[in-house]
């Protein structure tokens, strides 16, 4: 058990971000009360190897019914580390996203774009001993939403991580470089610090690109560090 450094609130959005209308009635209005972190925050769930099945890391295959999913095949590599640069091994990473047409499998999504019978859009993987993860998927499409007139979400993939403790829990979204919708998106812009926002954008990587198969992107994820002496590197 170890304790974690306080959350760096400057790297995160405020609970009430007026441009993103749903925050107005759903974000807490009172500042969270700081408590001394202890056993409760320092511990957290770990997951059995069986939690990730053979095809769970490959969204181009794990929803196949009768053929290949449509769209641009990509491979996302990343390293999960803490703010001191320590790699985070054996961390469960859950992912979900829209299909290439910008449509979610979720029953509530009524966007007038086609479902893909061969793409569910959810999966998961573990980080390895060095904190590295990888999953294959289809580049998700943009889609409209009701926040304001002509509002469109940029292409994005949702990621959920437990990290080493309950306190390090993170749910985030990975965006794509060069997307013109980023500067118009109140969810992306909810994070007020421009340097922090940049950390939400994956980097295209020709080195990660698999010849004749899939474009490569790199998306590193940084969780809160532990109290104590930073690791020499």
């Amino acid at each position: 058990m170890s304790t974690f450094k306080p959350r760096d609130w400057g790297s995160h959005a405020p609970y009430i971000a007026p441009g993103y209308k749903s925050t107005l009635l759903r974000g807490p209005t009172k500042a969270p009360l700081a408590i001394k972190s202890g056993l409760t925050e320092g511990t957290g769930p770990r997951f059995a190897p069986a939690s990730v099945r053979e095809l769970d890391f490959d969204l181009t295959k794990n929803g196949v019914v009768n053929g290949e999913p449509l769209g641009e095949r990509i491979v996302v590599h990343g390293r999960v580390m803490d703010t001191d640069g320590r790699p985070q091994p054996n961390i469960l990473v859950e992912v979900w996203q829209a299909n290439a047409a910008g449509r979610y499998v979720h029953k509530v999504d009524q966007h007038d774009a086609p479902l893909d019978p061969n793409f569910r859009g959810s999966g998961r993987c573990f980080t390895d001993d060095q904190g590295n993860y990888k999953f294959y998927t289809i580049k998700p499409g943009a889609y409209p939403w009701g926040n304001h007139f002509n509002a469109w979400r940029p292409n994005h993939i949702h990621l959920s991580l437990f990290g080493p403790g309950f306190a390090t829990r993170l749910v985030t979204q990975m965006y794509f470089p060069g997307d013109p919708l980023l500067d118009l998106d109140p969810i992306f812009l909810g994070t007020e610090d421009a340097a922090a926002r940049e950390r939400l954008i994956a980097k295209f990587s020709i080195d990660r690109t698999e010849e004749g198969f899939a474009l490569g992107y790199q998306f590193d994820i940084v969780l809160r560090g532990r109290n104590g002496t930073p690791m020499e590197n």
């Binding site: 760096d8 759903r26 969270p32 509530v108 749910v171």
Partner: protein
Amino acid sequence: MAYGETPSQTVGPYFAYGLTAGQYAYDFTDIADPTVAGPDAKGEHIRITGTVFDGDGNPVNDAMIEIWQADADGNYNEKPIDVSETGFRGLGRCGTGTDAKLRFWFDTVKPGVVADAEAPFVNVIVFMRGMLVHAFTRFYFDDEADLNAKDPVLQSVPADRRDTLIAKRVETPTGIEYRIDIHMQGDAETVFFDV
């Protein structure tokens, strides 16, 4: 600090087929569900249930609640969790969109007191569309008034807001329930913690 934290982003409205697939009947496996303790877990078996309300007092139908708690002896589970286990897992996850009254529920055992606390409680994280950062809270138990009065975290909460953290024990035909609602805003706004 060598690296900046990755910003949190909202879970959005469409998490169910990725994070709570079994509960919402999607064709995918789960790593957590509303069962925190299976039938073989030691301790008093209870259900914790409640509703999440927005600032207009309307129930939220697309929140996801996670809880992490100690077992009946006050120990956190250090074993890797497998949802096929019938014993104590310690982790629960429930969306608010499948119950007819839009409640969350967890089938668990009442936790024991952990070594660095004075009263039993459950750790809670609230996620939903409209929250760019998840929020941490706790559920304490109303039949533990003496221990609650000694718990340093609970006592650090202003007295007039402490009730927002205390679940009420109800005996029902199907067993013991503890009921607690989560209010995102308003006079009864739940106390959230910066952990």
